[in-house]
């Protein structure tokens, strides 16, 4: 495979887990909450999906179970933060730590086993395009479903009443409550949705992207997803763009290591975080100016 093909084919797959988790977290943050437990929810989803696929051979079942597990764990966050008004930062971390621990506990006896990945599906006409077609338009079904789902999410958030309600809850919870929306229930649903997407993200990482189970295999993707939401300024399109960029960077890091480029690979690995801090600074200072 040539360098270009490798990058094209790999970027989408590398970006996918981060994208799914980030989209989920974006919805949570749109309702005015911050769930720091992404890494743990992804790890739990990854372990559950792997175990399911290993025993049943069905990826569908694995993804379903992972989404359920992620949502279940996120309900802990919902109960503590929305239900009994516990501190969101501490709760998010507790959920994250718990998820990481549970994934290792459940996955212990599956260490370094493997499952089959998913077959790749080529889009009829597009995959015939010379040069980029065969690699760019030949992806596994999860990629295609994610693209569909992302468009759907964009539509719901920007073109429907539900999207308006979600923004209203995040921007002014008191006002939303005053006009009769169940703020708690909406936030709860958003947190559950975010948890489910994190579970799916983990499932993709452990059963498709690298179809094997190893403790710690999420390897910071949850934190990157958190950065992505900021990077994408809570807008679906920009989050997708950011995920592709971060995916490309993570591939670039591998390639740089393999080729032995003079640039330290650690600098490449740090780039998403450095860029996120810069983005955060720019966005926040704009916010300050508009307020004063």
């Amino acid at each position: 495979m040539s360098g270009l093909e490798f990058l094209l084919a790999g970027t989408l797959a590398a970006a996918l887990p981060m994208l799914l988790a980030a989209l989920g977290e974006m919805v949570v943050e749109k309702t005015g909450l911050l769930n720091l437990g992404l890494e743990g929810m992804m790890a739990l989803g990854a372990a559950i999906a792997f175990i399911c696929v290993y025993h049943s051979g069905s990826h569908g079942l694995g993804f379903l179970a992972a989404a359920f597990a992620g949502a279940l764990l996120s309900m802990l966050f919902a109960i503590l933060v929305i239900g009994v008004r516990a501190n969101a930062v501490a709760t998010g971390l507790a959920v994250g730590v718990l998820g990481l621990g549970l994934s290792a506990l459940f996955g212990k006896s599956y260490e370094s086993l493997t499952v089959d990945g998913l077959p790749e599906i080529g889009l009829p006409v597009l995959s015939q395009i010379p040069l980029v077609g065969p690699t760019l338009f030949t992806q596994d079904i999860v990629v295609w479903l994610t693209i569909l789902g992302t468009v759907g999410l964009w539509y719901v958030l920007n073109r429907t009443k539900l999207g308006l309600i979600i923004s209203a809850v995040g921007e002014n919870a008191e006002a939303a409550r005053a006009i009769g929306y169940q703020v708690g229930a909406i936030r709860c649903a958003a947190v559950g949705f975010g948890g489910a997407l994190c579970g799916l993200a983990g499932a993709y990482a452990s059963t498709v992207y690298t179809p094997l189970w190893a403790d710690g295999m999420i390897a910071g993707r949850g934190w990157i997803a958190l950065a992505l939401v900021v990077f994408g300024t809570w807008k679906t399109g920009r989050v997708v763009f950011g995920a592709l960029l971060f995916g490309l960077l993570s591939l670039g890091e591998l390639t740089a290591q393999a080729v032995g480029v003079g640039l330290p690979s650690q600098l490449l690995s740090s780039l998403p975080y450095i860029v996120t801090i810069l983005m955060l600074t720019v966005i926040s200072s704009r916010g300050l100016k508009s307020r004063t």
């Binding site: 730590v97 718990l98 621990g101 549970l102 740090s270």
Partner: protein
Amino acid sequence: MKVRLVRRDSASRMAMLAAPVLALVLTCLTSLILFAALGKPAGVALHALLLKPFLSWYSFSEVLLKTAPLLLIAQGLAIGFRANVFNIGAEGQFVIGAICASAFPVYFPNGDLPMMLPAMIICGALGGMAYALIAAALRTRFGASEILVTLMLTLIAIQILNYLLLGPWKDPRGFNFPQTVMFPFNALLPILIEGTRTNISLIFALVASVFTYLMMQHHFGGYQLRTAGLAPKAALYAGFSAPRLIWISLAFGGLAAGIAGASEVAGPLGQLQRSVATGYGFAAIIVAYLGGLNPIGIVISSFIISALYIGGDSATVSAGLPVAAVEVFQGMLLGFYLLTFTLIRYRIEFDRRIAA
């Protein structure tokens, strides 16, 4: 019918003590069920987790060794948490502290530098503090969330650590392992208890505890911090400077984490290696909340969490649990604590009126 939480007028001291104990009991019960469901010997696992650390002098001294960094970092973080300044990047400040301290033995590997150890500790402290203050500057100048900035800085710190250990600071005679040279004798912290690894960093942590206790209870600065946390508007009207509280909170948090990082490389590790970043900074956040953000409570909670680490190690051997079982325990403990704490501080009231 609506369910409401109504804050009790006064939380009794009894209730403050009951919450953590109740949380510990609930955690034990839940883990018993979980371990049993996974086919692990639940009784053996709990025995190892909770009792083994206290059954031998050696494991008890290891508990004290781990208590030191957790206690030190948690006391520093709690200062900020009380004022609603959420420094969640102590892990990064800890790593930077370890790196800054390591510079001396790396460049003077023969130990021919007078005042080696004090220089390392001071440099570690300043390094950790400076790293945390990046977040303070971005928060006060641009309004950037310190939660996200400190988190991102942590991830960057780990990359800096990797870079140094794989590149310029790698021990040339270290068989290509990513670690620095072994530190000379005068770069190591004195041992506190003969025959164990417990060193004087425990004293640093205890001094920090006394300091935060005095500051929070008897000093105007502590009063300002607490007011800013409980009633930000009131603090504003009273003329307390919000930016100054942010600078103070992050400075103390980074300082403490930096000293802890320096103590780790000058203590049990004796060199800079990747395993320096094992999550003390994140665990300390749990410690701070479990201690109710109270200086005395944090002394107790750091001891408990550290005992769980040592217990977890023995559970991997005796009950076949993965090391991460400790994380399950920590996560549950904090979750149950946050739950019981609120239920004890608040009354649940059922509102039977129909909303008009």
